[in-house]
Symmetry: C2
Subunit: 822 residues, 2 copies
């Protein structure tokens, strides 16, 4: 662990009246620009009387949260400049896009990355026009917004992202605004507990600011309606020291309001400085730092603050009615147009912007400069600060494979030995996230070089269980937190992976949607540099959750992901340990992808040597000549295809039966590692051309395909290639319970015997010739099930099955490997 | 609102030593049966010396949480019997399946529903053998468990389910055990706030019991490691009055432990009785009842309590090592076998079970009888107590349709008028759930007869905003809570619906997985009666989130759902208001389904009269003769198919262009309401036979299909029917931003002009004849985009487009209808 960087020690400085006047001016300017973005397409400085034609035809945006966001941004700026903080701003209520765009424009950053939107009247007009406009920018805080790492469309992830961003960024602070609407969501409610996973010495600081503006779209918010006593208890229960602020509900002088808030913010920042000072002292003395009660701020202000008090006789400021566009008819009625005019002029733009339309210097002076501007914080353009991982040669961790099936490994355990070295070689740049499942998924070799970071109470005996105040493994029983933390970590230029049970990764379906959208959009933004891929390792998968039962059996995350943009999504199903190593090395090197890797944790045969594995993974799919009976260059009678470790075993077992029972049948075995190769090359960059596909699968050859997940996905991927519906897919069809591993396959018709039956059914002429074999297969299945139901484990011929004759391997057989942990 | 039922007023009664001895005996019996289920397949009463062959070959199950669950069940039983409570038991740590099976067996319920598992030695042997055994029962609390409404596989939903179950069950209480592992999850962390949505007069009571046993699979839990002070603050912050209990960590006399816990439970139940008494008095006086601080219990006991203290020299009781099966080698080593023997005999089974193997009467006496047993609570077999909805005739709410496109409606607003009557006619039996979007999704007509239930602080002006202490609409900004509440409400025999933005329904992907699995399994359990379907209304859908931008655009929930079992899932895309009414009537009448209905909220043309709509919805798809140019009975040259309200408009617009430009082209227009009709009849009960499919779509006719969602889904559904890959699908291909509605279509090549181009491209011979038309279409698209980019709204020819010539309709045109709220 490296040295602890020093935290700025500048003491609080009570702002002077001049300071307060400038802050207020900045706030007015940001509010003015926010309203301008929502309403105006011309006359940006109101130098002409406001006319209907200056107003946009469609009024889109969210005003309600915006003035509060602007207020906080202005105050953060004062504090940053005064103390020399390294800060970023995370906007939970990201619908308030106009606010963040306004502040970053006032800081000059916006014009730096978008020179067209210059700091003058022309640029301001463009700033206004582009907002929520076709060909312009989105209405929310978005990848397009400088300084943002957090899309504000889907609510609930502000704190998770903030903590993820602060891990290993010990000298940084994230001002994190939590909307009281999003605070009702599950992920946000749990994410307050992130403070039990943050290390005061080695990680940065999250300052949560609960923006209690009282209303959602159409309702009050829960946290605004439980009283300060309960709310205070809640925040203390979450481990925080809450500081309360309320303003804007009466006629208090704005400068007084600013003065009061500056004091609250200084109080919070003083507490943080004290914590950081203590942490530095502890570090110097080689002591651990106990978890402090980190400050947080409850910021209670009116929704739509400074907007119209009343519209058409109904309360607007301080009501849900100001959530979006309060003056919906500004273009249509004289009253609303006049109201808009008065509202805009209430900010006195003529005092704020100079003749050219640039923010007057006196006001601009309150903001920090250069990279200290939150909109220019290098971490918020993570790819620009990303250091590549130092990756040990994965080939060194290869398992020995004397021949196909000639050895047995737990794939993820093997991967763990390589990940151990990745962890060792990349301190402060790589973390593993998981919901209490890192060891269950067999990655425990990493504990030889690191620990699980845990800043709640630590008991002595925990230390022998790899819990420590700092460590590279982050475990909380919340897939949402794991995902949010990892996203924040990646978005700020680091690397990581998320290991999860396959079934429960659906918990983050909606979060990964948003991350995939972020990646897709940033691919189109020139100044955004590529970040490291989001890497999943899905283990404890559907075929080996026989012991936990139906609730734990769901391979559908792959289906969910393949709807995302082809340039973002990669899905890999390595069939054994060496292919898993090769695959994961590729994933950790890649950028801007979501890589989904599914691999089992139980003992399975190894099929490929490392050299073979590298070739196979590079191709993404391949003919396993040794497994089939077809002659190279000739068309086979049937293709047996497989994707996934367990289906691969079943296909090989079926191939072995066919080889013995129908020796003249020309069988080709194809294994698919990279699922996207099944698509057409017009649909996915990894896709095969029709000619290449035919080269593998023949033109009209029947294909019996054993797939890891829901079988329909193969049809959806290969539909352009599947002339004459000759691909017959087996996979998980949502039949499961607590049973044996092989019974899981039988329940879903994906077992070796059924695959043989499928071959007989689909290859012309076999049906009559081999009716007896088909019947024998059916009988064998019945006997296999009967055995399992009687003995509670799979039949010996399943458990001891091996591809070869035993050969050199001491144990080429398969243990009955289900059900040994959660 | 009906009268408030009386709450049992029996005062607390301190248990005598005899009572405590009986409670302890019950607990020992439940623990014994739990251990027996995990380990034994024979010798159930240990009447022979324990041999290896009595032990199961695969040891599957979770011991760690089980003794705590059994302890609580025993104490709940005493309280129920003493006070006459109407109670159910919800098991958050549902992995503790053996415990719940044991308790329900001890109560006799298990043998009543499964007579084979009788209350004697033979039955006990069966009870043990079947557990986590092929052909037996799952390892978790499951649909198979009497008294359960909550599968314990995926964690986090215990409180949501409990509150959902208690709404409108004013005389009931749900003892709800929350695991400290699941308490880390997002949904659980937010669900504590459910107490702001429960009405003390009209709803039942949830008594949360936080089971703080300290460990997950491999880690301590957060809530066990923040100290009682923070934990107490957290619970008070959540609105509870926490009562702390700790026991089992030293050598305290078990009877003392029972005595202390009985006092804590009585304290909680006395507080509840007092709250209920106050509520009844308030109700009698016509007063509202303010939200009380409901009691909750923190129950801190060792993980694996009463299990082996130490195994192989490592602490087991009180450690994560007791999470699953502590003696993994009981069959393999003498030491473990002896440990198991000692463990089992420590419960003294010989004192607990009589000669036949039945629980001795003295102990059985502590439990309640008949329907008061939690395992026999009628609400937990919801279908058995379900009253059908009183449904007003939806035809009465039809909109007038003088001809296709002859009128314009907001479909969901029309639906709202019918739902208003459903609400009115079904007090206490129907609720609408939504994350702050009921009005946004245009269902506000319901507020004419009901309110939003809100038991946090209520301000005077809220009352005019339809907030009240009791009401049929439940809004919290958490899709998780909406889903969990609705599931709990349905599982206990009531009816409801969930209205959500389409994109964000992915937040509950994983929850609905589990509900679909529950339905699938209950279909196979004879004693479980069918419950009402889970009905989604997904509005604010992908094509009309042009204003909110990319984050709000995701139609993939349909894809997610169609992987579930065909007998469970229904997906409907009604194209207009009358078809939506007909569809929703069908959904609310149905049982055991998950119905996904996608319908827009913006003004759209109506196509079908109510009579036509009923026929169309009954068929699920249909040829719209009036829209095409093909002659009935003759094969068309091309089929233009559509599913979804917006694609329907585009297909009709394309058909109109084709009719004018290529009048001799025989075009058939097909609209699909019931998406499952596209499947083969071997795959889905609604599927079409090949012959029927060909009847609609021809055998080799090119089909240009405009679909609401991701286009690949149509290929996946229709793959068996799609000979020669002649179906060409357009839909959302993940291209979006903040723009105009029509630009959204153009970005995804799903606009009318592109559909015409597709027809030209795919119908033999058109390519050369109509190269000019094709070019004109391309030009028109470019002009449409240019207009939008210049004016910020769609071109006039889009906005005013109508199918007919105007006809009788006052306004058959389309307003530019995007972007008017969140």
């Amino acid at each position: 662990m490296s040295d602890v960087p020093s935290w700025p020690s500048a003491p609080s400085k009570t702002p002077t009246k001049t300071d307060l006047t400038r802050i207020h001016a900045w706030w007015r300017a940001a509010n003015y620009l926010s309203v301008g973005q929502i309403y105006l397409k011309d006359n940006p400085l109101l130098r002409q009387p406001l006319q209907r034609e200056h107003v946009k035809p469609r009024l889109l945006g969210h005003w309600g949260t915006t003035p509060g966001l602007n207020f906080l941004y202005a105050h953060a700026n004062r504090a940053i400049a005064q103390r020399g903080l390294n800060a970023m701003y995370i906007t939970g209520p990201g619908h308030g896009g106009p606010g963040l765009v306004a502040s970053t424009y006032l800081e000059g950053t916006y014009s730096e990355v978008y020179p067209d939107v210059s700091e003058d009247e022309t640029g301001m007009k463009r700033l206004f026009t582009q907002f929520s406009f076709p060909g312009g920018i989105p209405s929310h805080v978005a990848p397009e917004t400088p300084g943002s790492i957090h899309e504000g469309g889907e609510l609930g992830y502000a704190l998770s992202h903030a903590y993820g961003a602060m891990f290993d960024n010990a000298d940084q602070i994230a001002f994190t605004v939590v909307g009281d609407g999003e605070a009702e969501s599950g992920p946000l409610a749990a994410s307050w507990h992130s403070n039990k996973f943050v290390n005061p010495q080695h990680d940065g600081v999250v300052l949560p600011i609960l923006h209690l503006n009282g209303y959602k779209i159409a309702n009050p918010t829960v946290l605004a309606r439980i009283g300060d006593e309960e709310l205070g208890a809640l925040m203390r229960g979450y481990g925080h020291n809450p500081l309360f602020f309320e303003g804007g509900f009466d006629d208090e002088d704005p400068l007084e309001i600013h003065k009061r808030f500056a004091a609250v913010l200084d109080d919070a920042l003083d507490q943080i400085a004290a914590i950081k000072k203590q942490a530095a002292e502890d570090a110097a003395a080689g002591r651990e730092t106990e978890r402090p009660a980190w400050p947080m701020i409850v910021f209670r202000t009116p929704k739509g603050w400074t907007g119209p008090k009343e519209i058409d006789g109904q309360q607007t400021e301080g009501s849900w009615r100001s959530h979006q566009v309060p003056l919906a008819n500004a273009r249509d009625t004289d009253e609303h147009l006049a109201d808009l005019d008065a509202w805009l002029r209430s900010y006195k733009p003529e005092e704020l912007f100079d003749e050219d339309g640039k923010l007057v210097e006196d006001v601009a002076g309150i903001a920090p400069k250069g990279l200290q501007r939150m909109s220019a914080n290098p971490s918020t353009n993570g790819g620009a600060v990303m250091k590549p991982l130092r990756l040990p040669d994965f080939r060194d961790y290869a398992v020995d494979v004397p021949g196909p099936g000639g050895s047995v490994s737990e794939s993820t355990r093997v991967l763990g030995t390589w990940l151990r070295e990745v962890v060792r070689d990349n301190p402060e740049n790589f973390r593993i996230f998981g919901p209490d499942e890192t060891a269950s998924n067999r990655l425990q070799a990493v504990y030889e070089v690191t620990d699980k970071q845990w800043n709640a109470q630590l008991e002595d005996h925990d230390r022998s269980e790899h819990l420590a105040r700092a460590g590279r493994v982050m475990e909380m029983l919340s897939e949402h937190q794991c995902q949010g933390w990892l996203e924040g970590y990646l978005l700020t230029g680091r690397h990581g992976m998320f290991s999860s049970y396959e079934a429960f990764i659906h918990i983050v379906d909606s979060m990964v949607n948003q991350h995939a959208k972020w990646l897709k959009v940033t691919n189109e933004i020139e100044w955004r540099q590529p970040i490291a891929s989001l890497n999943y390792l899905l283990s404890s998968h559907v075929w080996r959750q026989d012991h936990n039962g139906f609730s734990h059996q769901d391979p559908g995350f792959i289906d969910h992901m393949v709807n995302k943009k082809a340039e973002i999504v990669r899905v890999y199903l390595p069939p054994d340990a060496n292919t898993l190593l090769s695959t994961y090395d590729h994933c950790l090197r890649s950028k801007q992808y979501v890589n989904v890797v599914v691999a089992g944790k139980q003992p399975n045969p190894n099929w490929l040597t490392m050299d073979e594995a590298v070739v196979h993974c590079t191709r993404g799919l391949g003919i396993w000549e040794w497994a089939g009976t077809a002659v190279e260059g000739e068309d086979p009678d049937v293709v047996l295809a497989c994707a996934g470790d367990i289906p691969t075993i079943e296909v090989l077992a079926a191939a072995k039966i066919l080889r013995e029972e129908i020796p003249d049948l020309r069988v080709r075995v194809i294994n698919v590692v990279d699922l996207m190769r099944l698509q057409d090359d017009t649909e996915h960059p990894h896709g095969l051309s029709q000619r290449a596909f035919d080269g593998y699968f023949g033109e009209d050859t029947p294909v019996v395909f054993a797939y890891h997940g829901y079988p329909w996905l193969i049809h959806r991927l290969a539909y352009r290639h599947d002339r004459n519906s000759r691909i017959h897919v087996r996979g998980y069809k949502e039949e499961g319970t607590t049973t044996t591993p092989f019974d899981m396959l039988m329940r879903n018709d994906t077992d070796r015997y059924h695959l043989v039956m499928d071959v007989i059914d689909h290859v012309d002429g076999l049906g009559t010739r081999f009716a007896g074999l088909r019947q024998r297969m059916e009988d064998t299945r019945i006997r296999a099930r009967a055995y399992a139901y009687q003995h509670g484990e799979d039949a010996p011929e399943i458990v001891t099955w091996q591809w070869g004759d035993g050969g050199d391997a001491e144990d080429g057989g398969l243990a009955d490997t289900g059900g040994d942990n959660e």
